[in-house]
Amino acid sequence: MYVMDASTPILKTEDLRMHFPVKGGVFRRALASCKAVDGVSLSIEHGETLGLVGESGCGKSTFGKTIARLYEPTEGAIRFEGVDLASMSRGQLKPYRREIQMIFQDPYESLNPRHTIGTIVEEPFVIHGMGTREERRKWVAELLTKVGLSESAMNRFPFEFSGGQRQRIGIARALALKPKLLICDEPVSALDVSIQSQVLNLLMELQREMGLSYLFISHDLAVVKHISDRIAVMYLGRIVELAPAAEIYSNPVHPYTKALISAIPVPDPTHNPERVILEGDVPSPIDPPEGCRFCPRSGLEYSDEVLKTKPPFLELEQGHWVEACPACVPDARLV
């Protein structure tokens, strides 16, 4: 069906768009569309962690849910090891569902409070009709041990666990079917710092052990920098910059990336940052301009022309890509 070699990324999106209709009026007609993800082309290599950062409302969670096919994309392709998932039916998708799993932000809301931990972690096996009851119990016990919980957790309920432990349960459930790609949507944002580092260590260990690939979505840039190989910066449905983790922090090109990085509070009182403070908030993704979306907020001078034409996504240096709006990135040159 398809040829797979080491150079095929585990996941590749091509001009992926996820538009939601905004309905209103007497007949609930679509009046406008909310362009949550609007032409995103990214790839995730085998064993790689791709960090995705941006402000709330920029579409990063929608992107994660779309590639997990929790939404049906409006346009574009999602190639998982070369196979396009974008237009598949539910039935066709089922085998691929095992390969892509998600970890959610809120460990309090993503576990059913009425089920025991055993039932919660076992459910993926039940859905995919795997194993006998005894086998499944054994697998659940193994998974719990793997994420650092005791087997006895199986018979307890979510409320008996702390936030960090619940996140471990969520990770165990996501790992049940031995996926290749994990989409981590703000997995440590709701946790305290001391617990956050425990969960990050666990994710890094699991990646080494099982060769997992991660899409790591977060608004905490220090966390993303620590765990990611490459980082994509998203603004209003589009990727504005993509580069290796160290490169994007040492040499940010897009003014939005610069502002994001300079806004990170550094835990060192002697550090005195030259801060770029952005005016205003992320604008509404309902019918945004086709051209550069950051210009109106950048404080730079721009012409109406740049709002009309979609800026090209250029590779400046090896692996360092930027959305080259002539106003935001005036001196963009190709490699």
């Binding site: 220090a222 620590h226 990611s228 952005l278 992320v282």
Partner: protein, 349 residues
């Protein structure tokens, strides 16, 4: 201590504590001594704040940092006397503000201080605002509560305050409802309400936790510039050490209901003495850290309120050797260098 004319200081003696209060008292807008706050629950009385002491200097910012459940918000609630009733009680301690002990102040007197001379900024700007009143009206409410103002004058003042907190076209915004504003704008409105009466002290409980980093930078910047203009003192409660480092002059580190370390921000970040402070500082990923390296962790978790021991509460998580008596005898709170205090458990410090 500065007093307004005609206001009589409340006669109250300062309880015995290990803190020396005699010098530099006039510099402090608020002095908290040995505050103990407990809640009555089905499981008995649980002590959420257990002997907390700190001072807030005039025109400066004190940060209170700690993980969820360490008692930082309950400390704020105790100072503001906003503890849930009838479960929450201040059992002991002295909260000195302008010659009064807020811990024992009659309710009516407290009402004239709350929102007026001490005010609060809450974490979640959507729930802190009333969704069915316009923003202007909500600011007017504070103004008219504490001042004898005509409605028109109050409205104009409300618009002025909105302008001061950086809300564009404040005349129009004042007539709008909270849902019409973004999260960052709402937090500016919450700040406007807190500052409406020109308070001497503002308690900000996780004011930027619900916001994006870019908006957080705007709000922290705004609070700093308002502090420069208006000269109020701030107690900033947060779990984010980055925010503390950028905004605070002094820091209190809280753990399981107690202050384990307190001192000048620069000194405390450069030279943390308590094992908990050290653990916190080393467990955050840094931008200049080694990518994908194993992060330092603090094993285990914060003890539940019904499992607290009288002695050092961090020993079991410190990964150091301790003996049972360390959990039973409360360590002294000692000044190890000028202004740098630490809960001197022999194991953890």
């Amino acid at each position: 201590m500065a007093k307004l004319p005609g206001q009589r200081p409340f006669g109250c003696s300062i309880s015995t504590s290990s803190i020396n209060v005699s010098d530099a008292a006039s510099d402090n807008v608020l002095e908290v001594h040995n505050l103990v706050t407990a809640f009555d629950t089905d499981a008995g009385q649980l002590t959420a704040v257990d002997g907390v002491s700190f001072d807030v200097r005039r025109g400066r910012t004190l940060g209170i940092v700690g993980e969820s459940g360490c008692g930082k918000s309950v400390t704020a609630m105790s100072i503001m006397r906003l503890l849930p009733q009838p479960m929450g009680k201040i059992l002991q301690g002295n909260v000195q503000f302008d010659g009064m002990n807020l811990a024992t102040l009659p309710r009516d007197d407290m009402r004239s201080i709350r929102g007026n001379r001490i005010s609060m900024i809450f974490q979640e700007p959507m729930t802190a605002l009333n969704p069915v009143h316009t923003i202007g009206k909500q600011i007017c409410e504070v103004l008219t509560q504490h001042n004898d103002l005509d409605p028109d004058v109050a409205w104009n003042r409300a618009v002025e305050i909105l302008e001061k907190v950086g809300i564009p076209s404040p005349e129009i915004r004042a007539t709008e409802y909270p849902h019409q504003l973004s999260g960052g704008m709402r937090q500016r409105v919450v700040i406007a309400i807190a500052l409406a009466c020109g308070p001497e002290l503002v308690i900000a409980d996780e004011p930027t936790t619900a916001l994006d980093v870019t908006i957080q930078a705007q709000i922290l910047d705004l609070m700093k510039s308002l502090q420069r203009d208006l000269g109020m003192s701030i107690i900033l409660i947060t779990h984010d050490l980055g925010v503390i480092a950028e905004t605070c002059d002094e820091v209190c580190v809280m753990y399981a209901g107690r202050v384990v370390e307190r001192g000048d921000a620069k000194e405390l970040f450069a030279n943390p003495r308590h094992a908990y402070t050290q653990g916190l500082l080393s467990s955050i990923p840094r931008l200049n850290g080694v990518p994908k390296s194993r992060l330092t962790t603090i094993d285990g978790m914060v003890p539940a309120l019904n499992e607290l021991r009288p002695g050092c509460r961090f020993c079991p998580r410190s990964e150091r050797d301790y003996e049972p008596h360390h959990l039973e005898e409360r360590p002294d709170f000692l000044e190890i260098s000028s202004g740098h205090w630490v809960e001197a458990c022999p194991v953890c410090t």
